[in-house]
Subunit: 546 residues, 2 copies
């Protein structure tokens, strides 16, 4: 029996549906691992297809091409053991599988027991549950298999499995999307299982952006005392190789503290990767966005430049009479500092023409109301989308979670674009991220005045966000308790010591703007409860919880 096993954790950035691309990536890593004498190379959950493949899993041709790819995997796994996740139809039922390839043979297939079907997950829509534990042996070391959710739902069941059939090492293949505090929660569970069973764990997580989700990688090896002895990179592909030692009772050095990045850095990395992958995986290279001189578009532009390079970001300022000179000056200062190109085009003429057409031909002279405010936002969207069509740049939306929550945005106006990069970032977090970005990038500053000035949509004379909204600190506190924690009006009002009237107004705004969110661009999930697949509310809804 070998004293150590050399284990590789290949946290790859798969492309959903692109089996050829994924297989070639997998093949390269297998070659590399062989050269480095790895005994067992692990790939993440559904690494072969990318995660989540959604309704591609109902496509027979897709399922058949997986069978072909699995055959190809056998060809390239001679001389090494490999465990890798893929969906597989077995006896007319579809499973979420971990295939164990030993010496060029598919030796075993473990079928995931626990299928998440909450939040962003829809696994019951596609998969049947597995019921048979699977272990395999390498150099006389017995290894147990789990897939993602298996360890989250019921650690007692995992402990029982291990008690009934003792193993030397537990593998977990995951496609675990990033959200704030998720890394801590993962570590907590892994430590618990490791300590309870005095067992080492290899946790291999996928990495990359896929529509609304970002997977952060950050694979881990834990010794049999629950200590992390090796980490994979965060938000980057990595091949983590570690000699796993099976001596019991040996306390290793815990890496969990010294390796921890700041949570704001994690969020910036998540947004950067989510944006980059969305753009590139959808065959774009360049983006454009409206630059107002406000904080949201400034942060979005700064992240876009980091993700894609300054030559791949185009800013467009589209002022009317309601936009201050200061806004334009700040937009220009931002573009100089961050280094992207800025075009300026006043939409005042088009705005006036359209207003005249509406008054003359459709609804007559009327007092100004939000119609004219929305119209400005929609004319901007038209100019931005025309530019997107003409130049082939993807339009970014820079609306934040606070405004999207309460409908303080214009459908088909500022809420347009291929991706809404800040959709899950509350306004107060936008400010924190901008300040943190400035700390990290002293040579490419977001102008301080952009961070300090009072927020305004500048859609009418002297408009301020505070005219119609409570301070963002208050608003975001209410929204967090309501949307992320599911608290009631009463609980929110008493926890925050805020009037029931204000709390009620905000909750009603959230409920009344579902129709806008249903047609809004996808955004990158960062919090525990994002909009999109994560939160499925009816548009037609008469429940009054405020």
């Amino acid at each position: 029996m070998k004293k150590n096993l050399k284990i590789g954790l290949a946290q790859i950035n798969s492309r959903v549906g692109d089996l050829q691309f994924n297989l070639s990536k997998i093949s390269n890593l297998i070659s590399l691992a062989k050269k480095r004498n790895v005994d067992l190379l692990c790939f993440p959950e559904l690494a072969l297809t990318g995660y989540p493949p959604e309704d591609l899993l109902l496509n027979n041709k897709f399922l058949k091409s997986i069978d072909v790819a699995v055959k190809n995997l056998e060809k390239i796994t001679s001389g090494i053991s490999v465990i890798i996740g893929y969906p597989r139809k077995i006896d007319k039922k579809l499973f979420n599988v971990a295939g164990v390839f030993v010496e060029g043979k598919l030796q075993k297939e473990y079928k995931k027991f626990q299928l998440p079907n909450y939040g962003v997950f829809d696994e019951d829509r596609y998969f049947e549950k597995g019921t048979e534990p699977v272990t395999f042996t390498i150099h006389n070391r017995k290894i147990g298999i789990t897939i993602c959710e298996d360890i989250w739902v019921d650690t007692k069941a995992i402990n029982k499995r291990i008690r009934n059939d003792p193993i030397d090492l537990l593998i977990n293949l995951s496609a675990s999307p990033f959200s704030l505090d998720k890394q801590k929660r993962r570590l907590h569970i892994l430590k618990k299982i490791s300590k309870k069973n005095r067992i080492g764990i290899c946790y291999c997580n996928i990495v990359g952006g896929q529509d609304e989700l970002v997977f952060d990688g950050r694979s881990m090896v834990l010794d049999n005392n629950g200590n992390v002895v090796a980490y994979g990179k965060e938000f980057e592909e990595d091949l983590l190789i570690k000699n796993v030692n099976f001596k019991k009772n040996k306390s290793s050095i815990c890496l969990s503290k010294k390796d921890d990045s700041h949570y704001l850095e994690k969020v910036l990395l998540a947004l950067r990767l989510g944006l980059k992958d969305y753009v590139h995986k959808n065959n774009f290279s360049k983006v454009l966005l409206g630059i107002s001189g406000g904080i949201d578009s400034a942060l979005a532009a700064a992240i876009a430049v980091q993700a894609l390079g300054k030559n791949n970001v185009l800013g467009i300022a589209l002022p009317t009479q309601y936009n201050s000179d200061k806004s334009l000056n700040l937009a220009q200062e931002l573009s100089r500092n961050i280094g992207f190109k800025l075009r300026v085009a006043s939409i005042q003429g088009v705005f006036e023409n359209t207003n005249k057409l509406l008054a003359d031909m459709i609804y007559g002279k009327t007092p100004r109301d939000t119609t004219e405010e929305n119209l400005q936002a929609r004319i901007r969207a038209n100019v931005l989308m025309a530019t997107s069509n003409k130049l082939g740049h993807l339009l970014l939306c820079s609306g934040n979670k606070s405004e999207i929550s309460i409908g303080y945005s214009t459908l088909y106006g500022d809420a347009t674009g291929g991706l809404a990069i800040l959709k899950d970032i509350p306004k107060t977090l936008v400010y924190k991220l901008a300040r943190f970005y400035n700390r990290l990038n002293p040579d490419n500053l977001i102008p301080k005045e952009i961070i300090l000035r009072e927020p305004s949509a500048e859609l009418r004379e002297n408009q301020k966000d505070s005219d119609s909204l409570p301070p963002y600190r208050t608003l975001d506190a209410i929204l967090e308790l309501y949307i992320e924690e599911g608290k009631s009006l009463k609980e929110i009002s008493s926890t925050l010591k805020i009037s029931r009237a204000l709390t009620s107004t905000i909750i009603q705004k959230v409920n009344n703007s579902e129709f806008k969110r249903r047609q809004s661009p996808p955004g990158i999930k960062i919090t525990v409860k994002a909009f999109g697949r994560d939160r499925r509310y009816p548009i037609t809804n008469r429940f009054i919880d405020a």
Copy 2:
């Protein structure tokens, strides 16, 4: 033992989330049923909350208000037996329940066994499965309970239940959404169960529109030979009362043939109800839509007038230099025939101004391409949305399924509105519906020329749909096989005897326009596979099945 039981099937149009409204409706029907000496009154699945309540089911206050409503149900059910569906938290688990109220007491709660989690359904997201069959007795007649999916998944299990514990009558409470042929499929299953077990069945289905779904009601009573002895109305609320006779072997008259409406009529009724409920349940009374002189907007306007009344529909024609005089004349003839008001406003000036702004200030002089076509559609959307905002009319989108499938539409342009009434209607079906509408409404004709003229988007000189698309008959045949039946390129091409190249082009267009559909308005499901919650494809998707 009474020879007959007088059973009432109350197919009600609940409002999702509006427990007070629903309870008051339920209460009125209970009073009416008491007056008519009904022994057992049945309400549909989740009748108390409306179906589907989606993530409202994760809201604790919502769940608590159901407990209160159930207590209220006890108060109003003295002197009658009532069975009604609602969600209920029991021992910390949420179930889809049928509550049996006898003489003012909640006697039993049956928990749904089979939870649909495919297509538009997400019941595993919310509910636990029930495992205990429930029967109850009225006038010594033993009655079994099922909820919707219970009878669809596994009729053998139902037969076994009945064998193990014989009953006199089977109840099924449903929230079964309409789609083409769905009524036949329901009847087929009910007949099978009835005949096999020599048992009568009362099938009580909910009615009404809820976002993407329309429930068609059409409750049924079957005798113990599988014959339908009474039907509830289609697409309307109804209280169906029937004396159920328990004599075995008596053959009753089968109503299934003579009562069957034409499938095109069913589709028109479904669209009308779906639209009416979407508009009214979201607190609108009036709609507006762009009228082009083409068939889609003509049919949409005709249905809207039937659903809401001619004074509640406003048409707006927004021509440019590319729109023929004939189009405008036909739009005007349509408005006169159908009876809605039409406004006309040329967007040519705004179009030219915007183009000049784009060329001068942003991307310079360029050859014309689809950018300018999209821009016209988006300027129209701006004018329509401004009118919507100013007048408080809901904007209808009249895009059809064929164009939405292949992205032959402009995001934020013609694909805008609160509801896309024809989203699930292929173009060839649009034609059939228009002709059928004219047969039913000889005094309010859609002008024949609108039906006969060659379809065109009129976004450039002499443009025809056939410039870039195959004939709609061919296109729709490909789309039906691909989207609804999940056939492969090879199968489609050989079934239809169409070149692989054309089939491949169409399939690729479907896959490449997911980003547009994700931001498109909700539409009313009519076919077996609609867009929206029914079909969940990734935007970022590199699978090539063409």
